[in-house]
């Protein structure tokens, strides 16, 4: 056991703290488009300091950070109260996927504009009738000369209104395969230019009132064959690479954000009773202690998972448990907040009210809690699929 950082890691952490303190962004504008531009500017600032893609290899313009350093970066980003860069999908998902599967031409064209926030990305995986079931993808791509002609609908495409590119999975095999035993075989992974004719983006408003996601409609959109990633019919494998990258660094960011929310809640709960820096209501204290315990466990689980990956090349059970525990903990936190903060958590426009509503999505987005439990039972405990 050694739960301290190496001198190099400590130096990196201190470098980041100093840099974040000096470069903390201003408060975000209220307007949605302006807020996006503000986060884009933040990414450019990070890029200027070589911090936009710390985990990217140096050959692609990154810093070549180790997994631990990447974790430290996301912890410090969260701790500084700074936002994620604008194109987190490009930086965490599209970029690493292209590095593995992309052609030289694709890498040369697409990677540099991710880092410098000149072109951003969205993800076209989910469909209205597919949900968590990748094999049910119905969006069709039919070869026509040197192009593929694509028609279909995608949902939950966050950032689509700002994206130049889309990671698109479509069915190039027999449509009858959808949902069948060969359902994963006929899938192909494309890079879609969002400015192509036939692409339509419609905002999908959430229960928070914010259009955080979009629906994406594709009507006979032409994609050149050169935009296929990883070969025709290989889309399932390529998409898995994308999905595997999804939560690596984010787990650290989310865990620190949870810690910050909890600290704000504890501070208020202690102040509210207000005698001597303790929480006067033992029932609230009991709940807050449990939140504190879970949040600390999430931090430790994230680091334990990293040790497993660094030493054995594969994650332990920590990763699969983390998403589930995080979403549940965040949902409990906002409910305790509703009790402690009263009105503030129930009045439109107040940050805690937004959190109360937004947290309901935590156990759905990025794989529902039900799916996470299946994964833990089947892949970690080895229980039979049926």
């Amino acid at each position: 056991m050694d739960l301290t950082f190496t001198p190099e890691q400590t130096a990196f952490q201190e470098e980041l703290r100093t840099w974040f303190a000096a470069n903390r962004p201003t408060d975000p504008p209220d307007d949605e488009d302006a807020a996006y531009q503000w986060r884009r500017q933040w990414q450019k600032t990070l890029h200027g300091a070589g911090l936009a893609g710390v985990h990217w290899p140096k050959e692609y313009g990154g810093r070549g950070a180790t997994l631990s350093e990447t974790a430290i970066f996301f912890e410090e980003l969260g701790r500084a109260g700074a936002p994620l860069p604008a194109d987190v999908l490009g930086l965490l998902l599209a970029g690493p996927t292209l590095m593995v599967w992309g052609s030289q031409e694709q890498k040369d064209r697409l990677l540099p504009t991710i880092l410098d926030a000149e072109e951003s990305w969205c993800q076209g995986f989910s469909e209205p009738d597919a949900g968590s079931d990748f094999g049910a993808v119905k969006t069709r791509a039919v070869k026509d000369g040197d192009d593929w002609v694509v028609t279909g609908q995608k949902v939950w495409t966050s950032g689509a209104q700002y994206a130049k590119w889309c990671m698109l999975v479509a069915r190039t095999g027999d449509p009858a395969e959808a949902g069948g035993p060969a359902k994963h075989k006929g899938l192909t992974y494309f890079v879609l230019d969002m400015e192509s004719p036939g692409v339509e983006v419609r905002p999908l408003v959430q229960i928070t009132g914010s259009p955080e996601f979009n629906e994406l409609f594709l009507d006979e959109v032409r994609i050149p064959d050169s935009a296929v990633v990883g070969g025709v019919g290989n889309g399932w494998k390529v998409a898995l690479t994308t999905l595997m990258n999804e939560r690596a660094g984010l787990a650290f960011f989310l865990q620190v954000r949870l810690r910050q929310q909890l600290d704000a809640l504890v501070d208020r709960a202690a102040g509210a009773g207000g005698t001597d820096g303790v929480i006067d209501d033992p029932v609230v204290a009991d709940k807050i202690a449990d939140l504190h315990l879970r949040t600390e466990a999430l931090r430790l689980l994230a680091w334990k998972g990293l040790t497993a990956i660094e030493r054995y090349g594969q994650p332990g059970p920590e990763g699969s448990l983390g998403k589930w525990l995080w979403s549940e903990t965040n949902q409990q936190l906002v409910e305790v907040a509703a009790d402690v903060f009263g009105s503030e958590a129930l009045i439109d426009g107040e940050p805690w009210a937004y959190e109360l509503l937004r947290a309901r999505g935590n156990s759905i987005e990025g794989g529902t809690t039900e799916i996470q439990k299946n994964i833990v039972a089947e892949r970690v405990l080895g229980l039979p699929r049926v």
Partner: protein
């Protein structure tokens, strides 16, 4: 021992449900919610039908019926997330009628019964957005020494946009502790039961919508409702709703039977159960709808948002559980 509404009571409930299915569909709720404007036409119609005064004494312009009938109507209004200022007005009527002075009864009940005057009830020291509280209406703060009545224009209520946009809310900041009992004449207890009844209606609707959805929606080639995890979560929702339902029904009956000794305990049990179920069931409804359930379009959020307010209005589950514990002790001492 007959644990169901009487024929007359069932008729009241059925009529309310049919009227609101027509007049407070999700399309209409959406129109009101998105505009943040209550449905004045619907409210006028309900006033004409005498709903606001259903449990107000006939001497003061009401129908003189009981908490059972009022709760049945509140449940239907909750089920429909009806965009009208019914709840606050009915609650104020109960507290004024049972806990206030004769003079206050004469002064305020006729207006509340006709719905001409809007009302709202809250606890001192509470910071919850209060449905119906506005400077144009009567604001009742039900304190330990009985209700304080704040007349229209008193400025005690400040309008706020609560997360439930289907009716108006006000913030009422009055210091003091919430009373341990339920009002000198049981008015606050009765009001608490009626909030719980509205909440049960909201949850019943959320459960039904969820069951319909998971029967219909397919994933991995089968209805999601055939997955055992979904089944068990739906079963848990039903259990939560049923537990709240029987405790609310019992409390309403205790209120109308005039069993003052048991009223506070019964009311606390009803609200504790409904408040706990309120958060769990409305959240689980979204969960079992998956991504769709998290969209503005899916209409579940009207239910979720009203449930969040009702769950804390006149005290949340934790507040009422502390009260219940006090009632449990003498009960045990008598039994052991």
């Amino acid at each position: 021992m007959r644990f169901e509404l009487s024929e007359d009571q069932q008729e009241i409930q059925r009529t309310a449900r049919e009227l609101l299915a027509e007049r407070s569909s999700f399309t209409q709720v959406r129109a009101a919610g998105e505009a943040r404007r209550e449905d004045d036409a619907l409210w006028a119609e309900l006033r004409d039908l005498g709903w606001p005064g259903i449990a107000v004494d006939e001497a003061h312009g009401g129908s003189g019926l009981g908490v059972i009938e009022l709760a049945a109507i509140a449940e239907e209004l909750g089920r429909a997330v009806a965009p009208v200022p019914f709840l606050g007005t009915a609650l104020a009527g109960l507290v004024v009628q049972h806990d206030a002075s004769d003079g206050d009864r004469e002064r305020w009940l006729p207006g509340l019964a006709s719905g001409e005057l809007r009302g709202a009830v809250t606890l001192p020291g509470d910071a919850v957005p209060v449905p119906g509280a506005s400077d144009e209406g009567l604001v009742v703060v039900a304190g330990a020494d009985g209700p304080q009545l704040h007349a229209p224009g008193s400025g005690v209520a400040v309008a706020v946009d609560a997360i439930d946009p289907t009716r108006g809310h006000g913030r009422v900041t009055v210091a003091g502790a919430a009373p341990r009992d339920g009002g000198p004449g049981g008015g606050l207890d009765r009001a608490t039961i009626v909030v719980a009844a509205e909440l049960v209606g909201v949850l019943q609707r959320a459960l039904e919508a969820t069951v319909d959805y998971v029967k219909d929606r397919k994933q991995f080639g089968v209805p999601v409702g055939s997955f055992q995890a979904v089944k068990h979560e739906a079963a848990q929702m039903l259990r939560d709703v049923e537990v709240a339902k029987v405790l609310v029904a019992n409390a309403a009956w205790v209120a109308d039977a005039g069993d003052q000794a048991k009223l506070s305990e019964a009311a606390a049990l009803a609200k504790a159960a409904a408040s706990a179920a309120g958060r769990r069931v409305s959240a689980q409804a979204i969960q079992l709808h998956g991504g769709i359930g998290f969209t503005w379009e899916a209409d579940l959020h009207w239910l979720f948002k009203r449930a969040q307010i009702d769950a804390v209005l006149l005290g949340g589950a934790g507040h009422h559980r502390q009260r219940i514990a006090r009632y449990a002790v003498p009960r045990a001492a008598a039994a052991v």
